[in-house]
């Protein structure tokens, strides 16, 4: 439940976002299990490599297209997503690439047995959210990035290098994506990215795009509703929930539960 809220915090809409999660989990798997690196080192390396992939994606695919329409850009990120997925499938063809849990075992809490992994999920989520919040509000680069998302032209008049900020944004969202993938990593495979992407986007939209805490709330809400529906109706319909919620929220309350009005209606 907790994993999909992290990477949605960035507010960057990118169809390949889910694939960044996939890379995070898969790289960590290779480094930790195949290359026998210590888990902490493997995790950090995996996150950094995925961040690098994010930056490369921006430079090679998004940057050359910056003068063309939004439509082309959307399709380009979709292309990138297919490409990444295919690469993932070629190098990690297994259905399940389990990463050892950070701490194994289960604890009983208030009468419910929960896996210890969940504490890592919640803890890392909290840390990531705090870090992103500080970055966006307290550092020059973070403030510049927010300026770019509000109005690129004005930002560029203020001497901000908009292109570079776009690159940073992609790198950062890839980093967070990788983290999300890692936390979820007990089993990661090549086709995990797609649904993660959709769910992350849904979480972000529920909370309101560009609103970090909204995205966190959206993630929690989505996770809960999914579990409920899977429990009450049928687990087959689980993947449907995010899609239905997404459309409904986009139409009924396009700004999300907490966000400011952003979607332009006809």
């Amino acid at each position: 439940m907790g994993f999909n809220i992290i990477f949605s915090s960035t507010g960057v809409i990118n169809f390949a976002q889910g694939e960044f999660c996939m890379f995070g989990g898969l790289f960590a798997f290779t480094l930790a299990v195949t290359a026998h690196l210590p888990l902490v080192l493997a995790v950090i390396l995996a996150i950094l490599i995925t961040g690098l992939i994010g930056v490369l994606t921006e430079r090679l695919i998004i940057h050359p297209l910056r003068h063309i329409s939004m439509l082309v850009m959307i399709i380009a990120t979709v292309g990138a997503s297919i490409l990444f997925k295919a690469v993932g499938r070629i190098f990690w063809p297994l259905e399940s690439n389990p990463l050892p849990q950070f701490t194994s075992g289960q604890v009983r809490l208030l009468g419910i047995t929960v896996s210890r992994q969940i504490f890592w999920v919640i803890g890392l989520t909290a840390i990531a959210v705090a870090a992103v919040y500080i970055f966006y509000n307290r550092t020059r680069t973070g403030i510049a990035m927010r300026a770019c998302s509000i109005n690129p032209q004005a930002a560029s008049l203020m001497g901000i290098n908009v292109q570079r900020m776009a690159m940073y944004a992609f790198g950062l969202s890839a980093l967070l994506g990788a983290l999300a993938g890692l936390v979820n990593a007990p089993s990661t495979n090549y086709h995990i990215g797609f649904y993660l992407g959709i769910k992350g986007f849904t979480a972000a939209v529920i909370g309101g795009l560009g609103n970090i805490f909204g995205a966190v709330l959206g993630g929690i809400a989505l996770g809960l509703v999914e579990e409920l529906v899977a429990g009450i109706i049928s687990s087959g319909y689980r993947d449907l929930i995010a899609a239905v919620i997404l459309i409904t929220v986009l139409l009924v309350r396009p700004a999300g539960l907490l966000g400011k009005r952003d979607v332009v209606k006809v």
């Binding site: 959307i74 380009a76 292309g79 297919i82 490409l83 087959g236 319909y237 995010a242 239905v244 006809v266």
Partner: protein, 363 residues
């Protein structure tokens, strides 16, 4: 080639009009002629290149019908849809269910499949077309997922993961089409009619309105174009064409399951439109052909060159990689697609890799 003026003096005005029409549509008609003659020389060529032409071209025709509709929506009206597999699937399931449960003839069920997809298209289009850009893309993608899950979960209707078997073959009133050649003609007659129709749509008042609202919805609105209505119109048209193609698809395959209509298909359809060339009707056909032929050609490679590396033989694993690469490379280097890019190259000696499309939009 004679000039149009030659026909003005023709005694019978309707003959003149007919000739003018033939002249205007000469590209499509020539194409139709080539396609019609294909079964005559298909055999030797198929043997030569080890690709079963007719067999593959049936699929190309089906995908071309969808891609032409999708191109009207994406290329001309600028409304992206990542969920057209849903309409393709709705068409296929409608036709399959009606034909297997009620035993209705397939020509009738295909018509009903088209209508079904159109009706659902109107309803969904009315809802989602309020959104734009990323939001529209995500919403249509979600529609695709919803449709896929419904195909899989509505067991009594769709047979779940097992799909529907023993779908009767294509038929016309009074005859059943059993042969490959028959199916080929059935599909391509429809495909060429769709091509002609789409060309007429583009040059019509509606077509101009669509281009206008792609360029700027505000400007189009100010010019008196009913933006919302036109968007729904073109969405419905593309949904109907997808339903039509899906209906035919079901009767060609005689077996359908949810996997054939997942998100991959939606993305493949968009890839066809982009590779062929957005806002180009021929581009949609070319895109459908490229995407359908790639796997067949790769399959045939061992017969051309004898030994090929193992990874070529295991192509199905790499198909997504090739599709993704093609999509990204086309978008980055040839954003107006292969047909427009090559046409510019031939006409203006302009490199297809740098064309006016790139500078058309705002900065």
């Amino acid at each position: 080639m004679m000039t149009a003026g030659t026909f003005r003096g023709t005694e019978n005005p309707s003959t003149g009009r007919l000739i003018a029409w033939l002249k205007r549509k000469r590209a499509v008609l020539l194409f139709a002629l080539v396609m019609a003659s294909l079964p005559l020389w298909e055999g030797p060529v198929s043997d030569l290149i080890s690709v079963r032409l007719l067999y593959t071209l049936r699929l190309v025709g089906i995908y071309a019908i969808v891609a032409v509709g999708l191109n009207l929506l994406i290329g001309y009206a600028g409304q992206v849809s990542m969920g057209h597999a849903a309409f393709f699937g709705i068409g296929a399931y409608t036709s399959a269910i009606l034909a297997t449960r009620l035993g209705w003839p397939s020509w009738l069920t295909i018509v009903l499949a088209t209508i079904m997809a159109a009706v659902i298209g109107i309803a969904l289009g009315w809802v989602v077309l309020r959104l734009k850009g990323h939001y529209l893309a995500m919403a249509t993608l979600s529609l695709g997922i919803i449709a896929f899950v419904l195909f899989r979960e509505l067991l009594p209707l769709t047979g779940g993961n097992d799909g529907i078997n023993y779908i009767p073959r294509l038929s016309l009133p009074g005859m059943t089409i059993n042969s490959k050649v028959g199916e080929y003609f059935f599909i391509w007659v429809i495909a060429i009619l769709v091509l002609l129709f789409a060309q007429n749509v583009i040059t019509s008042r509606t077509g101009r309105a669509l281009k206008a609202l792609d360029f700027s919805e505000v400007a189009a609105d100010a010019m008196g174009v009913n933006v919302a209505l036109h968007k729904i119109k073109v969405f419905t048209l593309s949904a109907a064409l997808a339903g039509l193609a899906g209906g035919i698809f079901a009767h060609i395959q005689t077996f359908i399951d949810p996997k054939s209509f997942d998100v991959t298909l939606s993305i493949m359809l968009v890839t066809m439109v982009v590779i062929g060339g957005m806002s180009s009707i021929w581009g949609a056909v070319a895109g459908a052909a490229v995407i359908s032929f790639i796997p067949k050609v790769v399959e045939a490679l061992p017969k051309w060159f004898g030994n090929v590396p193992d990874w070529v033989k295991n192509y199905s694993n790499y198909q997504a990689l090739v599709l993704g690469l093609l999509l990204v490379l086309t978008i980055v280097f040839m954003p107006s697609g292969i047909t427009r890019g090559l046409a510019d190259f031939v006409k203006f000696r302009k490199s297809p890799f740098n064309n006016p499309f790139r500078r058309r939009r705002w900065e």
